[in-house]
């Protein structure tokens, strides 16, 4: 009896192994891990829009069909590592794209590195995502630059001399960006006391009134809130309700339609830094991307859609240059990327695997993100 069952199991197992192995040679398997649910769902879904569009426009490479395998990491650090394993072990992908959320990327990164599968990050901006990991690359700039953009904006455009910061201590992105902003701002003013106060909250918190009341008492000229869109929108709403009418600034993680839907009137005038704006096309590929995106989705693409699009194209470009779909060859070709024309600009990988690119400032006006200028890399 037991033997019979065991036999059936063995046959099944053999079937699975045979079928999961078929077609490996004549197709390219690209895995995607993104937060499609949870507090960062908007970021992941916007990125996926871009990846799917790119896949539709460029479905083959080296004469082979490209197949996408999409996994939801649920905005969960443990789940992020798990989804990367699943993409590698179960779907046997040649390369991976992901993920929105630096903490998630930092959790998935080591898994891919151990397995020797290259990952092209779309928007994780924390420096440690690629540092010390030869297999992680990204299509975006990193937070020291983003901190510099917003500090300069606060100092020169707003004329702020004293600022306060409120960060999400559960997110590496937020803590990192807050640190780099502080550094850049203190460099501009030459006075460490010009950052008058810091306060913290955690992802999933909804009440920020205590932190805001504390910061209000310090009378800053502006507040920098480098958190994710949902939290920052609630936070600014509560700040306005507490009678704080000073300018608020955010980072790229604020760019999501939800930021404006939740914040409404309260987030008018808020300025954020990001990677790209559909209003300021930089390459021929940007124009093509924006047109195709409108046609497919009926609305303007976000920076994350553009980065997802570029991440996909960068991998295809690397496969083409390598003339191989072996993960090791793709990794090497990715590290050699130079002057690649993407939707978000010309992309060159530095030795750590980061793209060096122009930053964009957006400002909320009449319920929309309006292009408010570009900042060239230092």
């Amino acid at each position: 009896m037991l033997g019979k069952r065991f036999g059936v199991l063995l046959v099944l197992l053999a079937f699975i192994m045979v079928f999961s192995g078929t077609g490996l040679a004549d197709e390219v398997r690209i895995g995607v891990y993104e937060p499609l649910t949870g507090p960062m769902a908007a970021g992941g879904q916007m990125t996926l829009e871009g990846i799917r569009l790119a896949h539709e426009l460029y479905p083959t490479v080296l004469g082979k069909e490209v197949r996408l395998f999409v996994e939801d990491n649920k905005t969960d650090k443990a789940e992020a590592a798990l989804t990367v394993s699943r993409l590698i072990e179960l779907h046997r992908v040649n390369a991976i794209i992901g993920t929105y959320g630096s903490s998630l990327a930092m959790s998935g990164g080591p898994v891919a590195e151990t397995a020797g599968i290259p990952v092209m990050g779309c928007s994780p901006t924390h420096p440690l995502v690629t540092e010390g990991n030869d297999y992680y690359f990204r299509a975006c700039f990193i937070d020291p630059f983003q901190g510099h953009i917003m500090a300069t904006y606060a100092y020169h455009t707003l004329g702020a001399r004293e600022v306060a910061i409120i960060q999400d201590i559960a997110q590496d992105y937020s803590v990192g960006l807050s640190h780099f902003f502080r550094q850049a701002f203190v460099e501009l003013t030459g006075d460490p006391a010009s950052v008058v106060g810091m306060s913290s909250y955690q992802t999933l918190d909804t009440d920020f009134t205590a932190q805001l009341t504390y910061l209000r008492g310090l009378n800053p000229d502006a507040v920098f809130a480098p958190g994710y869109y949902g939290d920052v929108a609630l936070l600014i709403t509560q700040a306005r309700e507490l009678g704080m009418d000073i300018p608020f600034l955010g980072g790229d993680a604020c760019e999501a339609p939800e930021f404006i839907e939740i914040g409404g009137q309260n987030v008018e005038g808020v300025a954020i830094s990001t990677h790209y704006s559909a209003d300021a096309p930089v390459t021929e590929e940007s124009t093509k991307f924006v047109e195709a995106f409108y046609e497919k989705y009926g609305h303007a693409p976000s920076a994350f859609a553009a980065l997802g699009y570029d991440a996909y194209l960068l991998i295809l470009d690397a496969i083409e240059r390598a003339g191989s779909i072996e993960p090791e060859d793709i990794r090497f070709a990715l590290s050699q990327t130079e002057g690649f024309e993407g939707a978000t600009g010309f992309i060159t990988m530095d030795e750590t695997g980061n793209a060096v690119k122009t930053g964009v400032i957006l400002q909320v006006q009449d319920g929309e993100f309006i292009y408010a200028g570009s900042v060239e890399p230092q």
Partner: protein, 299 residues
């Protein structure tokens, strides 16, 4: 900290505390009568909030009608949940722990069905302008929520008291809380009373959810988890099963969270840790909660 600052913190604490109190009442009521911790309570909050959200968005109901519909449908969802997830177990005399596991399962089920149907992205909840109106009293900003939420909490507290102590159904509920078999012998239809209890508890959850969503107008299917856990803890600290205790527990938790930051702004990141250390201290001195009764094991 200046006096105006203190008053501002105090106001903030009342918003938060009364909200916790409101949600904790529903938790504690179901437990008090059925001795069942309904872990799906946090999800029922969000169910209520989402029904209200879609009532306004899709059916263009006026907000107050949409809220009423949400409370009624929320109660219906609660009763269905009891019918599907708890009653079959209860009728097979399953041990309490199985019911608890079933409750946790129901909680996960509701979360995931929400993710499948609604999707994981935040939705902006509608706020009737009156509620979010702000008035400046000197340097202290006061929203109308300051009066609305505690008022609703008080009304509910009164309503629950009236129902449990002044009506025949309430009498049956109290009988049930004491002893199932004897209550049944007295001619009480146990299943019906339990269904009433769930309807009431879930209706309260829907009210709590709507209030929560108005105060923090960003909802998604997993948004009920944290308030659910926190209000469960508030109910335990107040003495689970005791309705005024839940209100006190809710206010204590709200005040601890706000005042922890007010007095130690540099430890803002440890807000929950500070609040819960104090709660642990309270429980170590009063293990059954502030107003909890000594549990006597029935033999």
């Amino acid at each position: 900290m200046s006096l105006t600052h203190f008053f501002q913190h105090f106001t903030n604490a009342i918003y938060l505390g009364s909200l916790y109190a409101l949600i904790a009442i529903g938790y504690t009521m179901v437990y008090g009568i059925l001795r069942l911790i309904n872990f799906a309570h946090g999800e029922l909050l969000i169910v209520g909030a989402f029904i209200a959200y879609y009532g306004i968005l899709i059916f263009h109901l006026p907000w107050w009608l949409s809220f009423l519909v949400a409370i009624a449908l929320g109660a219906f969802v609660g009763v269905s949940l009891e019918r599907i997830a708890y009653r079959p177990l209860r009728q097979r005399d399953a041990p309490r722990i199985s019911l608890l596991v079933s409750a946790i399962g129901a909680s996960f089920f509701l979360q995931n069905i929400g993710l499948v149907i609604i999707g994981g992205r935040h939705k902006a909840f509608y706020r009737p302008p009156f509620f979010a109106q702000t008035t400046q009293l000197g340097e202290v900003s006061v929203m109308n929520f300051l009066f609305v939420i505690p008022l609703v909490t008080l009304l509910i507290l009164g309503g629950v008291f009236f129902l449990v102590y002044r009506t025949r159904t309430g009498m049956a509920m109290r009988a049930l809380a004491k002893d199932y078999p004897t209550a049944r012998l007295m001619g009480i239809n146990i299943n019906r009373i339990i269904a009433y209890t769930f309807a009431l508890g879930s209706g309260l959850a829907a009210i709590g959810g709507i209030m929560y969503a108005m105060r923090y107008p960003a909802i998604h299917p997993l948004a009920g988890v944290l308030p659910g856990i926190k209000c469960f803890i508030a109910a335990v600290v107040g003495g689970i099963g005791n309705v005024p205790g839940a209100v006190i527990g809710g206010f204590i938790l709200g005040f601890l969270e706000i005042m922890g930051i007010a007095f130690f702004p540099h430890l803002a990141g440890y807000r929950d840790a500070i609040a819960f250390i104090v709660l642990l201290l309270i429980l170590s001195f009063k293990p059954t909660g502030l107003m909890g009764e000594q549990v006597v094991e029935k033999v």
